[in-house]
Symmetry: C2
Subunit: 207 residues, 2 copies
């Protein structure tokens, strides 16, 4: 990903928050059938990512054990109009752009057909998302009938991605003047891009 220094996101807390807030990732791999992408929730566990796919999904056959993959976690994005910049009226030196936040993780994937790994992946993902949505009343894997659960576990494959490299980008008008930056931040709030607005407010302190 093209990432000029001023757009590089280097704050580990912000990167972790992006992954946590946008867990529905894109898992990309190069296979003999060409480029393949799958969309699925992933969980960060130490320096690895954990998830599962359907057994019917060819990915676990098309990618070699330890094969390279790219995982994308994407936050909010917004078109940015030159009309928003106060400096535009003076200099007219402005062009449209797009602001966004994204985290790329490069790593090596390994699949696991074992019951233990599959139950762990399902259990952790369920716990994470049910807790966020339903709190203490959340659905639990143990709520499913034992026989049904075994059938479901039999139809998936767990995987783990050992992350080698993380590249994150917060493209948030860092290259504009304070006046332009503040105007864009205001538009982000106004148009419901709460996370972009919040990050811009944080970045503003360091300008």
């Amino acid at each position: 990903m093209y990432t000029p220094d001023h757009f590089r996101e280097t704050d580990p807390a912000e990167i972790a928050a992006l992954v946590d807030r946008h867990p529905f990732a894109i898992l990309v791999a190069q296979t003999s059938e060409g480029l393949v992408a799958n969309h699925l929730p992933l969980l960060k566990e130490g320096e690895a990512l954990v998830g599962h796919i359907a057994l019917a999904n060819d990915l676990h056959r098309a990618v070699a054990e330890g094969g390279e993959v790219l995982v994308i976690f994407r936050g909010e994005d917004s078109y940015v109009s030159p009309n928003w910049y106060p400096t535009k009226a003076e200099t007219h030196k402005a062009v449209p752009t797009w602001n966004y936040q994204v985290v790329h993780m490069h790593g090596r994937i390994s699949f696991d057909h074992g019951r233990k790994a599959k139950l762990a992946a399902v259990g952790k993902l369920t716990k994470r998302h049910e807790a966020a949505l339903n709190g203490a009343g959340g659905w639990r894997v143990a709520d499913a009938p034992a026989e049904y659960l075994e059938t479901m576990l039999g139809s998936i494959v767990a995987f783990r991605i050992d992350v080698d490299r993380v590249l994150a980008k917060s493209k948030l008008s860092q290259n504009r003047s304070d006046a332009d930056f503040d105007a864009v931040a205001g538009q982000m709030s106004k148009t419901g891009k709460a996370r972009l607005a919040a990050r811009m407010a944080e970045l503003r302190k360091g300008r």
Copy 2:
């Protein structure tokens, strides 16, 4: 992308709408440096996609002329809790899942350093996004001073992707009973996933 038949999106109007509503795409390529993804607005033009990247972006050096790329346009997504299904109370046969809509376009990319192609790409993208945001009062490329515009054009590369293959997915609980489907659709409306709710309302008619 793993796409069981019941989740395959085959409606050309829906696919076109997804691309139009979620133009901030992900352009993925396999390069000598590994998998690379860039995030940028793309415009559908007949059977091709049109866009531009920074001249400083290595992509136009790392991908051969006519090289294969994957473009992802992703719509809304939502976690789906088993607790939402009315049938859960009876059978308990339910597990968490994720609903979403996405369009994948596979094609061959070619770059163009000519002023004409670059101005066309910038002009069309600007027109599209300014019209959506600012209507008749939208910013126009001609609003920029001529010298500044030439400098900006000098710092980008236009590209075109000839699309060979489109794969679209609307994963919207089509595999659940009517009662469960309706309950999920209701949750989509309630949680602000308006596009998923709208598509589910359309799919409901055909059940």
